[in-house]
């Protein structure tokens, strides 16, 4: 129905409609990554790196859950392991395999640190993420990521 009522155009309704349509067209499409992809951004943004993205599907074709979650001590929680590069180089967590012997080594920064800068730690596509996750609040103060500074490769 046209926004013409009682002989005059309700410009307000028209403008609102245009804005709504523009928002729909401009709004970014939701991420379509695989179920089980984990973004880990505990320290990466603050350090000027892209956040690390872990693919469960890729790893579960090659290893059973037990290898990482029992032998290597990974917790069942996104961002709950407080992984740092120091620990990985030390042979803990990812570094148990990503050492150049079982899988490629830590020199390939961009293979893990491939996330869109500023993406918070979360479990992509998880039920909790869909239903009950609290709103994302960016860090404030010195730990806040600098959006202008492009992360180094």
């Amino acid at each position: 129905m046209l926004p013409i009522m009682k002989g005059r155009i309700t410009w307000r309704a028209l403008a609102l409609g245009v804005v709504a349509w523009a928002a729909m067209l401009v709004a970014p499409a939701p991420a379509q990554a695989e179920y089980g992809d984990v973004v880990i951004n505990n320290y990466a943004d603050a350090a000027g790196m892209r956040p690390a993205v872990f693919s469960h599907w890729f790893h579960r074709i090659r290893f059973r859950c037990k290898v990482c979650h029992a032998d290597l001590g990974f917790q069942f929680k996104a961002g709950g392991n407080k992984i740092t590069m120091a620990k990985i180089i030390d042979g803990k967590f990812c570094g148990a395999c990503h050492n150049g012997e079982i899988a490629w080594s830590v020199e390939n920064c961009g293979m893990c640190h491939s996330g869109v800068p500023g993406t918070p730690t979360h479990f992509h596509g998880s039920t909790v993420q869909t239903l009950v996750a609290p709103p994302y609040q960016p860090l404030t103060g010195s730990a806040a990521p600098a959006p202008a500074a492009a992360p180094k490769k």
């Binding site: 499409a29 603050a46 579960r60 920064c109 491939s114 993406t119 860090l139």
Partner: protein, 247 residues
């Protein structure tokens, strides 16, 4: 007259209050007899450490993303571009990162694997049973065999939905006992209170189901709720009915 006196008194009191507060606001530096300057106590201020300005090594704040799927039913919003998109197009990884284009794409990897309608759209348990994939049980030993326990646990459900059968076999193919016991499930009959709300909130079964293993959707109910109710099953009486003294 009485009122006038009262007003005068109030004005006087107010002006005294103003003057007093103005005087006390100014710092009163008491001169010392020897002429030295008193040292201010700075214990309230945090110690300045230049190292802290560089980087916070132990940042405790964990980012959590926004709820993004609330309006997925809105047909005016953008449609998903498709399933199993390559890493550069999935919206999570940065296409400007060169290594993103080297990463493996899911679509070729999932070809030939038994499909489902949820999660990765791959039936991982069937994939493993059919030996379509050979994931390692030990990190360095490709031939190690898992410690499989074939024990089904039947959990009667209060509601009228079918009872839950928990198969240990499928779970021990992937996981080790210590992954679930005793932190998530106490290995004792009747010791675990499980309900769907807890699972949807990421507790109990929801620690994995809803994150990596098959999610809770309207199409996956029957994967767990698989044992039909016994013929003589009746809905349980409510607490109020049971405690009713006039029953």
């Amino acid at each position: 007259m009485n009122l006038h006196k009262k007003t005068l008194f109030m004005v006087g009191a107010f002006s005294l209050f103003l003057v007093g507060s103005a005087c006390s606001a100014q710092p009163q530096v008491a001169p010392r007899p020897d002429g030295s300057v008193p040292v201010k106590d700075l214990s309230y201020a945090p110690e300045y450490k230049p190292v802290d300005e560089m980087a916070q090594s132990d940042v405790q704040v964990i980012h959590i993303a926004q709820v993004d799927d609330i309006n997925s039913f809105n047909r005016n919003l953008k449609k998903p571009k498709g399933i199993h998109l390559p890493p550069a197009e999935d919206g999570l990884r940065d296409p400007q990162n060169e290594a993103t284009h080297i990463l493996a794409a899911p679509k070729p990897a999932f070809e030939g694997l038994p499909p489902t309608e949820y999660g990765n759209r791959v039936d991982w348990v069937k994939t493993l049973d059919d030996k379509k994939i050979r994931p390692r049980w030990e990190r360095e030993d490709p031939d190690a065999e898992p410690f499989v326990m074939d024990l089904d646990i039947v959990r009667p459900v209060k509601a009228s939905v079918p009872d839950v059968v928990f198969p240990h076999r499928q779970h021990t193919e992937w996981l080790f006992c210590s992954n679930c016991h005793p932190a998530i499930f106490i290995p004792q009959k009747g010791a675990n209170q499980i309900n769907m709300s807890a699972i949807l909130l990421g507790q109990k079964c929801g620690v994995c189901h809803g994150k990596v293993s098959f999610p809770i959707t309207t199409k996956s109910c029957r994967k767990c709720h698989s044992k039909p109710k016994p013929d003589d099953w009746k809905p349980p009486l409510s607490e109020a009915t049971l405690k009713n003294p006039w029953k």
